[in-house]
């Protein structure tokens, strides 16, 4: 049955589409956009089917080419991977739909390369999510990075330097990860995650294991832009074309966070301390530091996209914090925040792109009188801002709630304070955006009148539909957060803690 091949199809469908797209584009350029959106949508539907199957029949294990592990390559889809796969493919499918007008107007490079790279990016992200061994995870991580380097660089100008810096740091991150994998292989003679998780506890703590874990955590920390390893992120997100930022910003760091959780829980078995180093606490505190540092830096920005980039640094901190706390509610909160943050950051970067296309720039001063010219977009920003701050019924409240419960359960009162403080920082920087967008201050230069404040300037439907869909989704996830957590994430969190 075809559905038995679902884990492989998740990566194969967008990969084949990515390769076929330039060929189709050479014959019929008009076909490129619908084909790309179609491939993204098909991948999202396949992810939904996978999630449904995992929920009804349990973890799916797929042996590539029929070779059993540990000799063959294994793809594993459990609750966590199915959940992240659905998040990623849904967001990327919406971003592909969103990119249409930008690509047609030429602000995101020519259509064929953009969509082919975007689908290659999607394929490798799905590969990361379903990978059952550490080396395949590395390969997909690097393919995803290569695609995103090229996408960022397509902006030209300042994006080039941002992309180059991203390449250097991203490669160091991937190399560190590979070194960590090498040390684990040296120790155990296997790369299969399930195999590793059985052999590592027998071997106990050793200096090699410590080195391996250090390389793995730092390498993936760079990829997920965890403070203080976030240097590549702000420039890359700010100077990349808006359609590219809308594509990569919601998912890149989240998938790296997924890989970190996978390595820590499914492979290493969540060691509370390793040779005297309290690994998980270090991670939790790094997450806490990221929340505060990212939030404070976001408040200081005067460019919408740069502000959102620093906000990403802050929000990734929540995920790292939840992973570091390593108890059931905190992990469920961290995983729920992967979805919530992907949706709210997608929503906000979609809005930022629409603003850049319609109001001519992404400086906060460009947003002036936006609520009259782009009411729908402004409403979507408000919904995402509520989620970012953590006000119910927006989804962000619930992931932070679970994190808070987890922090208190672990006895980290100070970190619980950081979680609440991070919400206040988010309120500060999101209200800064809303102040510029909604509070009309007839400015000194007198531009207010000649800008025809009554004239509607909403983005075209292809950009508006994903935007509205995400803001509806944010509220929907908030309302149905209880079934999502109890039905999916509770199992995902438990799987790592056994």
């Amino acid at each position: 049955m075809l559905l038995d091949h679902l884990p492989a199809l998740l990566a194969v469908v967008p990969l084949v589409a990515a390769l076929a797209l330039p060929l189709a584009g050479a014959v019929r350029p008009r076909l490129v956009y619908p084909l790309a959106v179609g491939a993204g949508a098909v991948t999202a539907v396949l992810s939904l089917l996978t999630l449904e199957r995992v929920l009804t029949r349990g973890v799916m294990r797929y042996h590539v080419g029929g070779w059993p592990p540990p000799w063959g390559i294994e793809l594993v889809v459990d609750h966590l991977s199915a959940f992240v796969a659905l998040t990623v493919s849904g967001l990327v499918a919406l971003a592909l739909l969103y990119a249409g007008p930008a690509v047609r107007s030429g602000t995101a490079g020519s259509p064929s390369p953009f969509f082919a790279l975007a689908l290659l990016y999607l394929a490798s992200l799905m590969g990361i999510v379903v990978a059952g061994d550490l080396f395949n995870l590395f390969v997909f991580l690097e393919v995803a990075s290569i695609a995103s380097y090229a996408l960022v660089a397509s902006g030209g100008g300042r994006a080039l330097m941002a992309a180059f810096r991203y390449i250097l740091l991203g490669t160091v991150g991937a190399s560190f990860y590979l070194l960590g994998v090498g040390h684990l292989y040296l120790l155990t003679g296997t790369l299969n995650m399930a195999d590793l998780s059985q052999r590592l506890p027998e071997l106990g703590a050793s200096r090699v294991l410590l080195v391996a874990v250090g390389f793995l955590v730092i390498g993936l920390g760079i990829k997920m832009a965890l403070v203080p390893l976030h240097g590549w992120l702000p420039d890359a997100y700010t100077y990349a074309p808006p359609a590219v930022t809308a594509l990569i910003a919601p998912v890149t760091t989240k998938v790296a966070a997924y890989a970190l959780a996978r390595v820590l829980f499914s492979v290493l078995g969540a060691p509370a301390a390793l040779a005297g180093i309290p690994l998980m606490s270090v991670l939790a505190w790094a997450g806490g530091a990221a929340i505060l540092v990212g939030g404070v830096l976001a408040i200081r920005q005067n460019d919408l996209r740069r502000l959102l980039a620093y906000s990403s640094v802050s929000q990734v901190g929540y995920i790292a914090l939840g992973i570091g706390l390593a108890n059931r509610p905190a992990l469920a909160g961290a995983y729920l925040h992967i979805l919530n943050h992907a949706m709210m950051k997608g929503c906000l970067f979609f809005a930022a792109g629409a603003v850049a296309a319609r109001l001519g720039g992404s400086a906060l001063t460009d947003l002036r009188l936006m609520h009259r010219r782009m009411p729908v977009t402004t409403a979507c920003i408000v919904v995402a801002a509520l989620s970012m701050i953590g006000i119910p019924p927006a989804g962000g409240f619930f992931s932070k709630w679970y994190l808070l419960v987890g922090a208190l359960e672990a006895g980290h009162t100070l970190l619980a304070g950081v979680i609440v403080g991070g919400g206040l920082l988010a309120a500060a920087y999101m209200f800064k955006v809303l102040e510029h967008a909604c509070l009309a201050r007839p400015d000194a230069a007198g531009h207010a009148s000649d800008e025809s404040p009554g004239g509607r300037a909403e983005a075209p439907a292809a950009m508006l539909i994903p935007l509205v869909a995400l803001s509806v989704g944010i509220v929907a996830v908030g309302i149905w957060s209880a079934p999502i957590v109890s039905g999916v994430l509770w199992f995902a969190a438990a799987a790592g803690l056994e």
Binding site: V139, L168, G182
Partner: protein, 126 residues
């Protein structure tokens, strides 16, 4: 001391990998020229290949190819090098070539835009 020296000499490929890695890392950090940074990155990646190949090496072992005439003979692992790290590194080299290719393409565009590879000159122009 002699014990340590013997230990160090025995594992000289590992020392070489650490030295190469640090050279590459230093070049990435210290050089202001983007092309030299990229060369540093490549040395850094190559060091990891050396590390993996060191894992697979064994003294007195030969290529992991079992001749057909061996038939049902028992294969003793100590007589053969571990082929898996080699296979992994073939894939990793392909990945590295991809990264290097994109980086070089970006550098070409940077040079066309700014007419230089010096980072400080470029940053002054932006």
């Amino acid at each position: 001391m002699t014990e340590f020296l013997a230990y160090a000499v025995e594992r000289y490929t590992y020392w070489a990998y650490v030295a190469l890695m640090l050279i590459g890392f230093y070049a990435m950090i210290a050089h202001g020229n983007l092309l030299k940074k990229l060369i540093g990155m490549n040395i850094f990646q190559t060091a990891i290949i050396l590390f993996f190949l060191s894992i697979s090496a064994k003294r007195g072992a030969t290529l992991p190819i079992i001749p057909p005439e061996a038939g049902e003979l028992v294969v003793a692992p100590p007589h053969f090098m571990n082929p898996l790290p080699h296979a992994l590194m073939l894939t990793a080299i392909v990945v590295m070539v991809g990264t290097l290719g994109v980086a070089l393409a970006v550098l070409i565009k940077i040079h066309r835009t700014y007419r230089t590879f010096e980072e400080d000159v470029i940053l002054r122009q932006t």
